[in-house]
Symmetry: C2
Subunit: 203 residues, 2 copies
DNA sequence: TAAATTTTACAGCGATCGCTACGTAATCCG
DNA sequence: CGGATTACGTAGCGATCGCTGTAAAATTTA
């Protein structure tokens, strides 16, 4: 045990430095965050970083583990604390909506997006791809709005909400495919997703 | 017009080279694919690449545009060709399931995943994050299986399908948050997603 | 065949990457 | 106080990044 610490004491707050590293990795991804970026945000020099955290890979692992115990812990809590399974899943989704858009930290989930890297000089690439995705959501919305006006959708069907929902499903299917889901599994996802389609009031 | 071409003719197939570049960007992302990777796969030298495509950024844009007209075209077709809106969205999701898992090309959608970069030396980071996500899906599945056995889920509720579905929704919500969706929009997504929850036969 | 034009491969540019050797500063133990 | 120990900043390592200068090779035009 190292109860007594000899030598020159550390001159920075390890937890605060870890929080800064979390913010950077969350925002810019693993490769998109350089050692220079980290040392600048943490207010320390490279040797101090390596002495305190090992190397970049080890620091990242520590960041992800810490994330799971803090920002990402709402998922397990929601599923664990609710006695009813359905209530648990519903609460998890609701809290995800809040957490993923909390302006106090980067958007989305670190575990999902930390491989999405963009450094300063390639930020426009990510911006271009994002614009294409946003345009796609708008295309969904316009088609749904036209359908509602044409009477093929029940009134009050919320084209915007449906568009974001279907875009999220498509993007989730893409991610699941990257993570190894089979065609059969994704086809079941497609079927399940269609249960959200609005039904007329009197049906 | 350059009907007649003077000088030394190009010694490689531009379309084939573009297809190789598409494969690399699709699999490894923009930053994860280096000029050296590209020239190796395309079978050409750097000056030939720059003469034929401009620079890396322009090549990537051409790749994404080409993708939209080929692999990614099924979406617009499904929504356009079906007279009924609901049938169009259902077909789009079904075809996404097939396309995203087609073993003839990288998994998922290029526009969604091309910012997910991982080079050779950081592939283990992406692998680690993927394992965490896969473990999460399994956790969902186990909870749903236990609920089914305990009778809190109707029989034949397909825990695996539901787990993949809810994981996809969560990941889609994360991506939508990154793309600028609001908390209110994501909360509506959460509500809509819950309509997939299985109901007892006699209800 | 000679001049003009374009593509080719080789080699290397400056910048940035993750990482570290080195000497100094600051603390604890005796 | 002196010696041991640990953290610090500076400065720079080798490797890789996107990209290009240069000259030879290959083709069309005159």
């Amino acid at each position: 045990m190292t109860v007594t610490k000899r030598g020159r004491p550390r001159s920075f707050d390890r937890e605060a430095a870890l929080a800064q590293a979390t913010r950077l990795f969350w925002e810019y991804g693993y490769e998109g965050t350089s050692i220079a970026d980290l040392t600048r945000a943490m207010g320390i020099s490279p040797p101090s970083l390596y002495a305190a955290f090992g190397d970049k890979r080890a620091l990242f692992t520590e960041v992800v583990d810490r994330y799971g115990g803090t920002f990402g812990a709402f998922m397990g809590r929601a599923l664990e604390e609710e006695s009813d399974v359905r209530t648990g899943f519903a609460r998890m989704l609701r809290e995800a909506a809040v957490s993923y858009t909390d302006p106090l930290h980067p958007a989305g989930c670190l575990v999902i997006t930390a491989a999405t890297n963009y450094s300063a000089q390639t930020a426009d690439v990510e911006r271009d791809l994002r614009q294409r995705r946003v345009a796609n959501v708008r295309d969904f919305e316009e088609r749904l709005t036209r359908a509602e006006k044409a009477g093929s959708l029940p009134p009050g069907a919320e084209p915007r909400a449906l568009a974001v929902y279907f875009a999220a499903v498509v993007q989730g299917m893409s991610q699941q495919a990257r993570d190894g889901a089979s065609a059969a599994e994704l086809e079941r996802v497609a079927e399940l997703a269609m249960t959200a389609w609005p039904v007329p009031k009197g049906a």
